[in-house]
Symmetry: C2
DNA sequence: TTATAAATTTGTAATGAGTTCAAATATGAA
DNA sequence: TTCATATTTGAACTCATTACAAATTTATAA
């Protein structure tokens, strides 16, 4: 399962140009874009694309476990082309979301205190390395 | 620092009836209500309360570290009268958010890969114990 | 091919949580 | 009381997301 077309077909999703384009964007950038960011980017290549199609496609991907929605910022959903679960760091200053590869003992659990677990989310919030360095420079 | 009035005063927040009422609700129920749920509840006691006051107060509490906003459901913010950081379990079926007291090694960290951490969030998503039992009964 | 059905995309309108803002009200000091 | 300041209120607004029906594309069968 190398290429994106295969991933969609394997999930029973017809790989239309729109859907492929959205998935390709998620795969290439691997930032954690909003629906608006995705729409704006795709629009430059497929000028007729509809915002609704972006939302429809993302929902389809999510329902099939291909994409994970991140509810971190509180203002809009960020989308992650997830291979395996991982932690995130959200910078309150620049809004960037970083992947954190840390091995947390609770990321494998499938049951906790009788509750059946389907998804695990761990994230931190603060000021990212980049923004910290900028602050330092500004003070010197 | 036992009672709610003291908590507010200690934070430099004037303990008005509205603010105290909101905090009292968060403290008594300890579910993780939405702003709408809080508004509806307070309204029965203070019929003149405004939705804006609820949002204003919650923002004030958040800015002073008295309350933590939870971005978990994706549709609305849930509010937690946080004493110490802890994990959560969100039930996709009934919408309930449970506290999970598990000791995760990453909940104490203040810096990761150069990023300065201000908040730590860990939560799981799935079907809660209660809803699982209901399902079982329905099948027998 | 042609006809027809099903799937997909599109655009517009609606939804709803949260915010803005200025007027009204309450509080507190002089 | 008078005046300034803090708080509350309600209406209007924003904006991400959803609903929905029409238009278009794609698949299937005759
Ligand atoms: Mn990620
Ligand atoms: Mn909690
Ligand atoms: Zn940053
Ligand atoms: Zn449940």
């Amino acid at each position: 399962m190398k290429n994106l077309k295969d991933i969609l077909e394997y999930a029973g999703i017809k790989p239309t140009i729109e859907r492929l384009s959205i998935l390709r964007y998620l795969d290439s950038k691997h930032d954690h874009p909003t629906a608006a960011m995705i729409f704006n980017e795709i629009e430059t290549k497929i000028p007729t694309i509809s915002k609704t199609t972006v939302y429809n496609s993302l929902k389809l991907f999510i329902d099939n476990g291909i994409v994970t929605p991140l509810y971190i910022t509180g203002s809009e959903v960020r989308y992650d082309f997830a291979t395996k679960p991982h932690h995130h760091f959200f910078c309150e200053k620049c809004g960037k979301i970083y992947d954190l590869i840390i091995d947390c003992p609770y990321m494998k659990k499938t049951k906790i205190q009788g509750h059946q677990i389907k998804q695990r989310h761990g994230y931190f919030r603060g000021i990212c390395k980049n923004c910290l360095e900028k602050e330092e420079k500004a003070q010197s």
